[in-house]
Amino acid sequence: MTAQETAARSTSPVSAIRADRRRGRSRALRVSVVAALLLLVVAAVSLTLGAASVAPADVLAALVGRADRLTSFVIVELRLPRLIAGALVGACLGLSGALIQSVARNPLASPDIIGITAAASATGSVALVWFGLTGLALSGIVLAGTLVAAALIYLLAWRNGVSGYRFVLVGIGIAAFCGGLVSYVLTRADVSNVQQALVWITGSLNAVDPSALAVLAVGTVVLVPCALLVGRPLGALSLGDDLASGLGVRTERTRLAVVGVAVALAAIAVAVAGPVSFVAFLAAPIARRLVGRGSLALVPSALLGALILVVSDIVAQFAIPGVVLPVGVVTGIVGAPYLLWLLARTNRVGRGG
């Protein structure tokens, strides 16, 4: 064997490993870029749609501040905040779902199944119906209620550490309790309040409060980098607790930090739009399937969450002429069959999620 051949043979595993890593990265990047482009296209389309249809050129003019006053008002004051709110709420929910599902190693463990968003419904309906709160005050109360419920779920699921399965079961219990509370509040309230509360509980972008939107924007900017940072040990943690501890991961501390950031993300989202169902639940599994290779797909999950929510909101606004549905109706119709499929499949595989 010549020296050259020896050299080639000794470097070939390294190049194979590098090539494999490159493939993984480029796949994740491709999915992210495609999702981002689709989001841009959908966003552009959504700005032209509405009671007064606006030509694409006029939309552009309005965005750079060169349109007439009416067009400017429609685009910048009405449609743009709704679009931004939708994209941010979707991104936060998608990322939140990806984080909690990977920490619990269970696709059922998304904020809308394990009682995080149910807690938002409960605090929201109490605040709306009993105390008549709206806008920023409502968002604040919902944020607080969601965080308290998450802490409660974590503490109740704690027993020498938190196992994914117990986390899901305790969460479902909390969700049932919150559901009961919502029903109680609604049956005791008068009709006009119920109407308003129901729209909010379903999850809606119909009345986004500007100051709540500002809180959401700032929260997203702060929390997304946090999520990527605390999510770094998740790759090791996904190999099992024992192995991760052996690799030097502080498993409980990591779980607590990741769940904390994920709940905060879900909370700021539902505080603005109400508990939009199934976005957190759907985005991460789709992103993971697209990226493949056991990837956590955090960024693609966020982008897909945004895409799902913006598309759903367009459908909610224009599917039935003259009726603007809450966006949660659409996400619910899309998400529920996936939940059923997942439950049926889990049962067949027999690994309990």
Partner: protein
């Protein structure tokens, strides 16, 4: 780095381990000989896996200490321990669709900091581990498509990529057929010979333990019954004492190590 001047040593002093108040390992004193292959054997539920969890700082002691290079292992930063001591638990989980190279690369976690990116050294460590375990040509294959024996080699490669002087393995041969069992044990012996890696493994099969280990620790009900060279330690008395089984101990015709032939009710010597 300092392996010539200071040999790796793992030991336990008065170590008790408990699960939810139930003591499983009781007041153990133990030295793991550096640079050798140690096997821990014993009947089911004797605490051998628990001991391994204790030695690898996964389970904090109820009392006593585990010492790594003379220092309390629980007082050391966990990432620092992970650079000295690798662990392969019994049932690790591979994420769906993960590739071999990606999984082995995760063994580099303890060498990565908040700001330190992946380096050429990491690539080399991963490549070396994959070459040593004979899986270099599987780099881009999905782990869930591999056979049980190949998969176990991938996990061992992951532990090797960690580049530690000490490697603890909990029943590395379970669920493998005999040829793959031998393959895994041969591989561990190769590693020990090539780099003087200290290997500690929990094994089910007493004969394989006697053949492959240079040092044997026999446990029963949370205590060490005997420890030492298998040739000196494995006797019919010990087998009766530890497993409650009558047996004849012969010389292995190939290696000369003790070969245990258990008797049971229908056979007598």
């Amino acid at each position: 780095m300092t392996s010539e001047t200071m040999s790796p040593e793992l030991s336990a002093r008065g170590l008790s381990l408990a699960y939810e108040g139930r003591t499983v390992v009781d007041g153990l004193d133990l030295d793991i000989p550096a640079g050798r292959v140690t096997a821990i054997v014993g009947p089911n539920a004797c605490g051998k896996s628990t001991l391994l969890r204790g030695l690898s700082r996964l389970l904090p002691p109820a009392s006593g200490t585990v010492l790594l290079d003379g220092a309390d292992i629980h007082g050391l930063p966990t990432k620092q321990v992970a650079q000295r001591l690798g662990l392969l638990p019994q049932t690790p989980t591979a994420p769906d669709g993960i590739t071999v190279a990606d999984l082995v690369s995760r063994g580099r976690y303890p060498h990565q900091g908040w700001f330190r990116r992946w380096t050429a050294e990491d690539d080399e460590a991963v490549a070396e581990a994959m070459t040593a375990t004979g899986i270099a040509d599987l780099a881009d294959r999905a782990v869930d498509e591999l056979s049980g024996g190949q998969r176990q080699r991938v996990w061992i490669a992951m532990a090797l990529a960690q580049r530690t002087d000490i490697l603890l393995l909990d029943e590395p041969t379970t669920f493998l057929d005999i040829s793959h069992q031998l393959e895994v044990l041969d591989l561990l012996l190769d590693l020990n010979a090539a780099r003087a890696t200290t290997v500690v493994m929990v094994l089910h099969d007493l004969n394989l333990a006697a053949r492959y280990a240079g040092h044997l620790i026999a446990m029963r009900a949370g205590s060490v019954v005997a420890a030492g060279d298998p040739t000196a330690v494995v006797t019919a008395d010990l087998v009766r004492d530890v497993f409650g089984v009558e047996s004849v101990v012969a010389d292995d015709p190939v290696t000369g190590t003790p070969l245990v032939v258990p008797l049971g009710r229908h056979h007598t010597s």
